[in-house]
Symmetry: C2
Subunit: 456 residues, 2 copies
């Protein structure tokens, strides 16, 4: 077997500034040779060709406007002049599913993916129409956006299609044979996406184009017509949270997930436990729920909490990738089950009871794997101080008894145990770069690596 190593084109790395997604901005070049307004950002080659607005400002930032109204920058975008605008009817505006595609309301029972999209409709209506307006102010404004979705049963995972197109046209561009009523009914905001999660990205982009105009008290989109074709440059766009070094309340995690969706980030990397604390109430090992807390307050996540967070994230188009960092960050495990650790209680060790140690690792990973539904499961593997085993009398005895010549082999055994468990559960193990620098191709196949050290 060979190792699948996602390169910087496919994964956002921890702590490596050279691979930031914002690269696409840093390498932007511009040309004003054309009067059409086209943004084309592909293969790290950004070509901006803009017209009337460019000349109105010489500052670098202003030259991006109105491209930068949608953030991150779409792959392709074109737009009209500032004077051409449409308004939206705040009181009656609706997202309407195109009946030629998936997710019609009449299709019962509704799939989870479609249900997630309908919830997003409600969420975004509250986000977009964030001012109460007099009912008269948007009488003749557009009252719906049309959404075409191709597939109704997409699972949000590392391979989900997030591409979308968004077209916003002025009413006058409709066929002149239509009555005024028909023009409004036909609508002039069209979204098209392969999956419901792509449609959510489109709605996020749309929401960023809508501005409240205080003088007229209307919700406006300027620079129509807009034509946006977009897809993520990186399939994996994550933020890492660490609930061990400091406990994060559920409301904080939900708030972070909501923010991720605004930035079209798609992965919450949840570094759940570490040396500092083990804030998870395990079903198989309930003793963690008394011995793992960060402070004197009870600060834990239950199984139900995790299920809730994973569902909340999915509804926002965000995957949750758990991390259980084995074996280098496990001293909190020792408080609950001392026999699986060295005498110093600083790290897992097979010395006292190898069977028990392996069982605890296996059972915890299996239990968590059922709660975190994503295909990726991060197993850490960084910063392992093998000296902790070399200095532990029982571990040294164990190594002699089993003819283990180097404590680095203990390290490898734990990495393999963790990876094999996750592979056996049908998932993809993820690990920090040190497992590659230490063990290279001797690792199990199918491991995804993440760098956090710049020199690695």
């Amino acid at each position: 077997t060979t190792n699948s190593i996602l390169t910087s084109n496919n994964i956002v790395f921890k702590k490596d500034p050279s691979t930031k997604e914002e690269d696409s901005i840093a390498t932007t070049t511009s040309s004003s040779s054309s009067s059409s307004n086209i943004l084309h950002d592909d293969d790290r080659d950004v070509r901006i060709k803009n017209g009337s607005n460019r000349s109105s400002s010489s500052s670098k930032n202003a030259s991006y406007y109105p491209y930068n109204m949608v953030w991150p920058l779409p792959q392709h975008a074109s737009f009209g002049t500032m004077d051409t605008s449409i308004c939206l009817d705040a009181s009656s505006f609706a997202f309407v599913i195109d009946e030629n595609g998936a997710c019609c309301r009449t299709a019962e029972p509704m799939s989870q993916s479609c249900s997630d999209l309908y919830e997003a409709f409600d969420r975004y209506k509250l986000l977009i129409f964030d001012h109460t307006v007099p009912s008269s102010s948007s009488n003749d404004c557009l009252s719906y956006a049309s959404i075409y979705v191709q597939h109704s049963n997409s699972k949000l995972d590392f391979d989900v299609d997030e591409s979308y197109s968004l077209t916003i046209a002025a009413s006058s561009s409709s066929s002149s044979t239509l009555s005024e009523h028909e023009k409004k009914k036909k609508g002039n905001i069209k979204i098209s996406a392969t999956t419901t999660y792509g449609a959510m990205r489109a709605i996020e982009s749309l929401s960023q184009l809508i501005r409240f105009q205080y003088t007229t008290k209307t919700f406006m989109i300027q620079h129509v017509p807009w034509h946006i074709h977009d897809k993520p440059r990186f399939v994996h766009r994550e933020l890492l949270i660490d609930s061990s070094r400091h406990f994060l309340p559920l409301s904080t995690i939900r708030s972070i997930i909501t923010s991720l969706s605004y930035a079209k980030m798609n992965v919450l990397h949840w570094h759940l436990v570490d040396d500092t604390s083990f804030p998870y109430c395990s079903e198989v090992y309930p003793q963690f729920c008394n011995m793992g807390e960060y402070s004197s307050s009870q600060e834990y996540y239950t199984r139900e909490d995790i299920v809730d967070i994973v569902a909340f994230a999915r509804k926002h188009g965000v995957r949750v990738m758990p991390e259980i960092d084995i074996p280098g960050h496990t001293s909190s495990w020792c408080r609950a089950i001392p026999d699986i650790c060295t005498a110093s209680k600083s790290i897992l060790s097979p010395a006292i009871n190898a069977t028990l140690t392996n069982q605890v690792v296996f059972n915890l990973l299996k239990e968590l794997s059922n709660l975190f539904t994503d295909s990726f499961f991060h197993l850490g593997g960084d910063e392992v101080q093998t000296v902790l085993w070399d200095e532990d009398i029982e571990t040294v005895k164990y190594m002699k008894l089993h003819n283990i010549s180097s404590s680095k082999d203990i390290y490898l055994d734990f990495v393999r145990l963790a990876h094999d468990t996750i592979l056996e559960l049908g998932k993809i193990p993820v690990g920090w770069g040190e497992i590659w620098t230490n063990f290279g191709s001797t690792l199990n196949g199918g491991v995804v690596l993440q760098k956090w050290l710049i020199q690695q």
Copy 2:
């Protein structure tokens, strides 16, 4: 007429640490001579008599537990031992209005005050039951709290009664002639309040006593029976926000109001405009909506925004007291209507057009007075640099023409104009301490003063 000056017993002052509400904590003394658990905080004399728990800890903070589970400290509280606890049924728990009092669901149409309370029920159920639990875990737990409210039509204003009592008894304390079913139906959480806003304070206290127990996955109240009788020590407990020196989005203001309700604070003092910006879209003077913003983004509050915030606050038992700081903090007015200011555009002046200047002050205050429904309207009056008038050629001419010997009289004229306007509208003018130190008893009657300077 005489001036009503609220003393430190009745109002929370700005920037004066000696009058903080937390005084009641600083002066706390304790005695462990009794085995009953009674907290009695009245007239700055806090007597804590606690029993079994005290001996379990010698630290100062721990000695307050479990008194400090409710914060701010209730006026009177007694409680049982840690071992006596009840659990709540998360899946079916309801706040139930006692039919002997006001706010029954059958009483149609429901008053605003009762409707606010029902909304609070929904809000607090989400706050209290903040973990999903397996349905089996709270089968035999208490499923409702009974709420008796005396008056259905209370207006939230400076004189509203916020007192309440809260009793939480264990099921076993019910009459032994009741069946198990009846015991549960009778309930053992009772709230009694004069007004719906007092009932909200009771529910806030109740919510602070409920803790999630991770090992059993139940919502528990320990130390029953609880008997709490509480009322605010200060009728006016405010937080000042300043939306001029920095714009605050509506979502931020809502978040602040929610936080105030957790701390049983009851006034949001909204310092709306100042020299820096005038973020209000006036109906009478629409030019402010183009000339008053803080930054290049459109950052304003519309009339509808203010109505929404005032309603949101009222639903949380929080009054909104607006402040228009006249005449010392008005340079932002000059950008929109230059003729009402000195030539330096730094402060209001009657010199160019006294009628217009007076009209603008009067009309703006009248317009805002309709939106902010509270009886209190703050008119500032602090930090007036009379030298700005002495150095303004037109103002000096105006003073000579009208035989005004000192620019301090211009200051007084503006203060009187503002106060008279608010009094004429049937409201109570509030002002900063300088108007008292400068003008004392020559002020209009019925003015409420707030100190912000320690030496004043």
